[in-house]
Amino acid sequence: MSRRIEQIVVVGADAPAWMAAAALHSSLGGAGIRVRVIELPTLLQPVDAYSALPELGGFLYRIGLEEQLLFNICKAVPIAGQRFSNWSGAAPPFLHGYDRPPPPGAGLGFTQLWIKGRQKGLRTAFENFFLGAMAAKAGRVPVAVQGDELRATFGYNIDASAYSALLRHFTVQGGVESKAARVADVETDGDRITAIVLDDGERVEADLFVDASGPQTVLIGRMPGAEFESWRQWLPCDRMLVASGKALRPLPGFSQISAFRQGWLGLFPLQDRTAVTAVYDSGEISDKNMLDNLSTLANLPIGGDAVVSSLCQGARRRTWVGNCVAIGESAFSLEPLDAVQLHIAHFCISQLMTLFPVEAGAFPEAELYDRIIRRAAINLRDFQAAHYKLNRRFDMPLWDRCRDAALPETLQRKLDNFTARGRIPLNDDETFEEQAWESLLIGHGVMPQSYDPRVDALPEQDHIALTQARLNDIVGLVDGMASVDEFIAGADSQSQKEAEAFG
């Protein structure tokens, strides 16, 4: 006889685990469902930072946590885009800004106009026509006054430990029970977990187990059918080095992602420091050499606190087995590129919330969850893989290999369609929509060969006027925005009181 779910246990550590617990508790606590966290030892180091997409703001709002606390407590910096440099030889860097899509029914996107303009001799870079990118470039934060067609938003760079601690505090204060422990054993019956046994001997039962343990996959890793599928052939770097340098002044509005001979280097501005991440192929460079070269590559003195870890990009073949649901990097894991780390957890949590089981019985939701998570994972993987595939760094083994690699069919189709017509055929469950893909592909040098014939309906004079007006509008809007430093100072004073409440 089936019955409603009463007890959920989240197993994991750091932000993903607390995000899951907070979301489950805030939505379902009122319906009498209890959430308990088995808190594993942290995987974070003091140097770690999270680079987050704009949707994180919406997540915090839904669980009832003030966004300003990120700026006040978590050393956060608002980030309007990602800047990519050195991926294509002498080509200039490009920005992927967080523009919002135009309202539905707005007709032909600007990209089609730009493609024709380009063919007619327009030299202005694609990013100049996007508010997010230009705000990022100018070190401004896209809020407040914005146009109807031109709207942008910002994501966040956050100190990982401070953010995890804030979420932990918030969640426990909200009434979620937690216990620090390790998992000694997992008792299963077929494809269901009957209980987990902790290192102190406690046996924990639940109707639903959420695996938020990251790459350790403490639970899902033991479930039948949930084998790991590696995506190394498209994302070839296997090592990651994280360190920190001094803060940049004034604070920039973007994170900087630069390719180098053996991988890529990310500079993520925080209020008190710059998080420096190198992702590289250990077959091409040793950890020691990487560390030795880091300061030079980053053009920044690096502190003595560097930490090295391994990366394993790929996905579990199943992400919901029996009564065990994997979220975040327990489900699939990518590179700390394009600000997707927290997004992976957020996306999985959202899907789990939408499909939260009505009964502790057969879980007919599992199959759909699996399908959605897999689709989203593949879409994100393709976005990251495109950076590698489209590099123009010749005569360097890693980059030559990447250019020559056969692409997944899903990415090949996007590339082919974009090359032919400047059109991105989006799949279901895409994180990045048209404009993000367009920035990515055009930035990496893919130039569409043709455009939508409806563009030709616009007389040339009007075309030029419209293009010029868009540039002017953007300049005007960016001028009206606060600088990153001003924005943080403002957020700071607003959230003083809330901050005190959290000590």
Partner: protein
């Protein structure tokens, strides 16, 4: 291959003239030549047609004034479809355009809160929570501005119109913009010996019409896409066994309803589409279960007005052309596939084909990548619509005739089976943004057909009983206010856009 300049449309009718009008408007006839070949000898299928809201985007693309359009095509406004006797004899439900209820704080869909309410004894008539459904029930209609404050619900609508008049209207529109109409029957096709591309078609009188791109609007004959390119056909009659329709217009006997009616019959279903000047009727059936003569007789018996013609029989097979675009030929309309008009999708499928063609239209070489993409997206669209239509037959309590016995017991596509299962368990009609019919549509039809969810999203339980009652009451009040403010559909038509008597005669 040179620049694509000369476009030839083979076949008139709704599909042909919609394509011609859109091409004339978007590409223009200065840089492109647009020729439409049709023969007065060959009839068009167009009867009374009901549409869905996206038709407005098409008319907007053409820059057509809505009042003029309504006048010229004797159109009425449509808020949805009333389904009678589908779940079982005596039952009815309404599939509205629009949204079910309104957002309730908490983050799960309205239908979960509504299901909770019904499971604790609330009135299961979901139409009360849909403005379009409530307005339709009371025969009211008006165009209402999109609400600024979000307080009152909007009203989504489409049209019911005379498809032949629409085609004639678009023909005038196209010819004014320089589209050439060639009278004649295509008797031969010339292909390039190397590429296989169509280079020209020959008409019965010997005229040769050359072109760079050919649009096959030849209806079920599929002259080019099948006749020349053997694109193949996926036969879906296992799931959609109807293969005949008897159609007849009758006199208008009452004010036109702002909705289409679909009544389940012993071996199919009957449509009723009210226009300004007459009412369109038809019996869609499977000839394995009822003869053409018997269906025609029953149709005539069941009209609410005097018939204005003899019933016309249409013969078809449900299914989809395997590839709608091959080389330099695109099938639009019935040549690309046929789904019965149960959810008024025929004109929409024409419109989507045309709009997709623009997005992918070759400026120079025809790119196989874009052809593949077109066919892939079209497959997905057809599959979704197909599943939605199948659901009307599969989900029913009816077992009173051999026809219904077959329908309720037939096997269905896996994609649909998974959807029904999740809906049965938890009222979750998950759809993706690429699907034409979204949550409210699936909910209305599945619930209306008798698939009652066993449960709903647990988050809906987080609201207290008082809060729930209050939220539901305020939504009902807003709908009440909206509907009370509307004139009757007939009055609105009269005031804004009633057809001139001359237009009626044509």
């Amino acid at each position: 291959m040179q620049q694509v300049r000369d476009i030839v449309i083979v076949g008139g009718g709704t599909a042909g003239w919609m394509a011609a009008a859109a091409f004339a408007k978007v590409l223009g006839t200065q840089t492109h030549s647009i020729t439409l070949i049709e023969s007065d000898e060959i009839g068009t299928v167009g009867v009374g047609e009901a549409t869905i809201p996206p038709i407005m985007q098409f008319n907007a693309l053409l820059g057509i004034d809505e009042d003029e359009f309504v006048r010229e095509t004797n159109a009425t406004f449509k808020l949805g479809i009333e389904f009678i006797d589908w779940r079982k004899p005596g039952s009815s439900y309404f599939h509205p355009f629009g949204t079910f209820g309104a957002n309730i704080t908490g983050g799960v869909g309205f239908m979960n809160y509504w299901l909770r309410w019904v499971q604790s004894g609330g009135d299961p008539d979901f139409t009360r929570f849909i403005a379009e459904g409530q307005a339709a029930r009371e025969g009211r209609f008006a165009r209402v501005p999109a609400p600024q404050d979000g307080q009152l619900p909007r009203l989504n609508y489409a049209y019911q119109f005379d498809a032949a008049a629409y085609a004639a209207y678009l023909r005038r529109f196209s010819e004014r913009r320089g589209v050439t109409r060639s009278e004649g029957r295509v008797v031969d096709v010339e292909q390039n010996t190397e590429t296989g591309y169509i280079e020209a078609v020959k008409l019965a009188d010997g005229t040769r019409v050359a072109g760079d791109f050919f649009i096959d609007c030849s209806g079920f004959r599929a002259l080019l896409i099948e006749g020349v390119f053997k694109a193949g056909f996926d036969d879906w009659s296992h799931w959609l066994p109807n293969n005949r329709a008897a159609a007849v217009p009758c006199e208008r006997v009452e004010d036109p309803t702002p909705f289409t009616r679909s009544t389940a019959r012993e071996s199919g279903w009957q449509w009723r589409i009210p226009l300004q000047h007459r009412t369109g009727n038809g019996y869609v059936f499977s000839d394995s279960y009822i003869s053409e003569d018997e269906a025609s007789r029953l149709l005539l018996d069941r009209l609410d007005g005097r018939p204005l013609a003899d019933p016309k029989i249409l013969r078809f097979t449900a299914g989809k052309r395997r590839r709608g675009w091959v080389k330099n030929c695109l099938a639009v309309g019935l040549s690309s596939g046929f789904l019965e008009p149960l959810e008024s999708t025929s004109i929409h499928l024409i419109q989507v084909a045309i709009m997709k063609l623009f997005e992918l239209f070759p400026l120079r070489e025809i790119n196989p990548i874009l052809i593949d993409q077109y066919n892939r997206e079209t497959d997905a669209l057809y599959d979704h619509v197909r599943d939605f239509i199948i659901a009307h037959y599969k989900v029913t309590d009816r077992d009173d005739t051999p026809y219904w016995h077959y329908c309720r017991n037939m096997t269905i596509p896996d994609s649909l089976a998974a959807k029904l299962e999740l809906f049965r368990e938890r009222g979750e009609p998950r759809t993706s943004p690429s699907e034409l019919f979204r949550e409210t549509s699936w909910f209305a039809v599945l619930y209306g057909q008798g698939l009652i969810p066993r449960s709903y999203h647990p988050v809906a339980n987080a609201l207290s009983e008082d809060e729930l009652q209050l939220a539901l009451a305020s939504i009902r009040t807003a709908i009440r206010h909206r509907v009370d403010s509307l004139p009757s559909h007939a009055d609105f038509l009269e005031r804004c856009c009633s057809a001139r008597p001359t237009a009626t005669a044509a």
